[in-house]
């Protein structure tokens, strides 16, 4: 944004102060996330930059905390690193187990939330839908209700129904938490969907199912995929429900981090955090690309 030529010196000064302030706020937003990345390569078990790190001495940096992610929980971490060692990592390392659990739970919760959520969004975006606002409010509420309340409710419900300490229980709960995100993104995409295409398809002789798969779904896919990614991230990052209704068997990455932070915070946590930041950058890029694709499909953006 350029200053108008009639700006007074005071306005000019304020303009630059304003830009600096915005820069500082952006720094506040992003610096805490980036600061952990170099710290995760610390050779010492500290959470601050050592003298060696600041002078870029290679001795100040190491991969030991990443290595620790693999060896922690192994039966024989000191053995030679051959096939058996890697098999040991795969079956016993605590973080690897947690990652496997997170992916399994996240995958099924996402499938459940996305399929049910997309179906419901199709109904909700029809103009003839009865009680549209009230139903929408109920379906969005898992995002608004504090997580501790949801977890408390599920704890009572699952203890009564025998779903406690099971994968199924955690998956169902995570699907519920992911549903609002699917509903919001898919209804937003459907809002820009040209409904005359449906009539055109019917006019050409396609049934409702064929119309959905051949006409509607290809056009709303970007919205569905971003909804699914939101649902996956929600599950992948969720710790309170897992703490309340899961047992030690359902140890996920966030739960393992939670335990690590509460008991004894070690730079291994920073190594995990760095990996998670890289994953979120990848996810953010995917969602941005999808959003642009969706806008192009709908002819909204000139790019």
């Amino acid at each position: 944004m350029a200053l108008p030529i009639y700006a007074s010196p005071l306005e000019r000064l304020w303009h630059y102060v304003y830009l600096v302030l915005c820069g500082l706020i952006f720094f506040f937003l992003i610096a805490p996330i980036l600061v952990i990345i170099p710290l995760s390569f610390n050779a010492e078990p500290y959470f601050t930059f050592t003298q060696k790190m600041l002078t870029f001495d290679s001795e100040g940096y190491s991969m030991r905390w990443y290595d620790n992610l693999l060896t922690f929980g192994m039966q024989e971490p000191g053995a030679a690193r051959d096939g058996n060692w890697w098999a040991d990592v795969w079956t016993n390392a605590a973080w690897v187990k947690a990652a496997k659990n997170s992916v399994i739970i996240g995958f099924f919760a996402t499938i459940l939330a996305t399929s049910l959520g997309t179906l419901a969004a199709l109904g909700l975006s029809r103009p003839e839908m009865p009680y549209q606002k009230a139903i929408m409010a109920v379906l969005i509420s898992p995002m608004i209700v504090p997580i501790i309340i949801t977890a408390t409710g599920l704890f009572f419900f699952y203890s009564a129904t025998g779903l406690a300490n099971s994968y199924l229980g955690v998956i169902l709960a995570h699907a519920t938490l992911g549903i609002p995100f699917v509903i919001i993104t898919v209804t937003a995409t459907l809002a820009g969907f040209d409904r005359s295409l449906l009539r055109a398809s019917a006019n050409l002789g396609a049934g409702p199912v064929r119309t959905f798969f051949k006409v509607q779904l290809p056009l709303i896919t970007p919205g569905v995929v971003s909804g699914a990614l939101f649902a996956f991230v929600t599950s992948f990052d969720e710790v309170v429900v897992v703490l309340f209704v899961g047992s030690h068997e359902q140890q996920t990455i966030p739960r393992q981090m939670w335990n690590g932070i509460r008991e004894q915070i070690s730079p291994s946590i920073l190594a995990v955090a760095t990996l998670l930041v890289i994953i979120s950058i990848a996810l953010l890029t995917t969602v941005e690309l999808l959003r642009r694709r969706s806008e192009r499909l709908r002819g909204m953006s000139p790019t």
Binding site: F26, L39, T48, A120, I135, I147, F230, I261
Partner: protein
């Protein structure tokens, strides 16, 4: 669609009323088609609605019933419960003590005396051992039971104990809500404020709301200039800068909280930098974590994107020509900002502020990790009663009160912003 095709081929009958080809009045056929379309739309939503009902609404309903329903006492002490029912308002006589002994014998068999004792302990602190201790010797007791029981422990004569047992014998009780607003029942059965050191929940609710207000205010102060900058920059630059807002949004909550722990610690990055620069002395390090400062800083950072995104989407639609018109009519830049620009951003401010406030009120993880003793919120107390003290009914009552507050805010949000206007990214 076929219904519409039918109605399109309507024909006019002799009397002038419109009819479909199969002879039905058009109005009726149209109503039927509309009803069918409604049902079809509803059927698409039904599976999800059933799913959310089962995994969300019913569990929360069950939690709410937990907050008023506690049958630990009435289920395990049937004889005494019966005596309370038959003798309303009476002081304990020999029959009451006989019922007590009978019940304790049964409770001892089924090992429930601890649970019963815990239940009464919520109302009258320090009485759990009374139940477990007496149950241990209950088999040797002989009539008259009143003297025998008082021999074991003369605390059994306490009037507040009997008042508490009488109220606990009611399976449906508001005791837990009383406890949640720091009220208790006096030995005379009156409703009064609890002692000073046990009055914590009202304070905690007030603290939760105050901290959430502070965090919302900070988010607004920090979010407004950034959202404005994003809205006035050209599209290409804005979408690059928007990534700086979205990346924290997509980063794991635990990762962001961990980063703040690393930064704010006594030996952390900020303190070390300040000491190295000579601004602080080594023993004058700032305590920025495990107190309210930590909670406020970390939660402001975490919730800031929820303020920026709604503000940005409103500011994007504000035409710059209004501001230019105001300037050309002689307004100063400050007046233009105050009188022309800010009023147009009010929907965004409302949406962002309510969203941030709702999310802040129910926050659990971040306060638990960086809040220490003074920076924790009501959620942490609920978790404490769920996981540590195991007073589930009190946890449910506190949760119900928090839920009521959040639902009111949610309703306000719906009135001001509309749920269907909620956007992500």
């Amino acid at each position: 669609m076929t219904d519409m095709a039918d109605t399109a081929q309507m024909q006019t009958d002799v009397a002038g009323a419109l009819r479909t080809p199969d002879g039905r009045p058009l109005k009726q056929a149209l109503a039927q088609a509309e009803r069918r379309a409604k049902i079809r739309a509803f059927l698409l939503v039904l599976p999800l609605l059933a799913f959310v009902l089962l995994t969300f609404i019913i569990p929360i309903g069950q939690m709410l019933s937990r907050s008023v329903l506690n049958d630990t006492f009435s289920a395990n002490m049937p004889a005494l419960t019966e005596w309370f029912r038959e003798n309303p308002g009476a002081q304990p006589d020999e029959a009451a003590f006989e019922a007590l002994v009978l019940d304790l014998r049964v409770a001892r068999e089924s090992r429930t005396q601890g649970a019963v004792g815990t239940r009464i302990n919520y109302e009258v602190p320090g009485t759990r051992s009374l139940f477990t201790g007496t149950a241990r010797r209950v088999d040797s007791l002989e009539p008259p039971f009143r003297e025998a029981v008082l021999d074991v422990d003369e605390n059994w004569a306490r009037r507040d104990l009997w008042a508490a047992m009488r109220s606990a014998a009611q399976p449906v009780t508001l005791n837990f809500y009383q406890a949640a607003v720091d009220r208790k029942i006096s030995p005379e059965g009156r409703f009064q404020r609890a002692d000073d050191q046990s009055r914590i929940y009202v304070k905690l609710f007030i603290r939760t709301f105050l901290l959430s207000l502070v965090i919302t205010g900070l988010c607004l102060i920090l979010g407004f200039p950034v959202a404005h900058l994003l809205a006035v920059l050209p599209m290409r630059k804005a979408s690059l800068l928007l990534i700086l807002v979205l990346l924290p949004f997509w980063t794991s909550l635990l990762v962001r909280t961990t980063s703040w722990m690393v930064l704010l610690q006594g030996q952390g990055v900020i303190n070390n930098t300040l000491v190295a620069l000579g601004i602080l002395s080594d023993d004058g390090r700032l305590a920025m974590m495990y107190n309210q400062t930590g909670t406020i800083i970390a939660m402001t950072h975490i919730l800031l994107p929820f303020m920026i995104l709604p503000l940005y989407s409103v500011m994007k639609t504000i035409p710059p020509s209004y501001a230019r018109a105001a300037r050309s009519l002689g307004a100063t830049s400050w007046t233009t900002f105050r009188r022309i620009y800010v009023p147009q951003t009010v929907p965004g401010i409302g949406a962002g502020a309510i969203l941030v406030f709702i999310l802040a009120v129910g926050y659990y993880i971040t306060p638990a990790l960086v809040g220490g003793a003074t920076g924790t919120l009501i959620s942490n107390q609920i978790a404490f009663h769920m996981l540590s003290s195991l007073n589930w009914s009190l946890a449910a009552a506190l949760a119900a009160m928090l839920l009521a507050a959040v639902l009111v805010l949610y309703w306000v949000y719906d009135r001001i912003v509309g749920i269907d206007n909620m956007k992500l990214g």
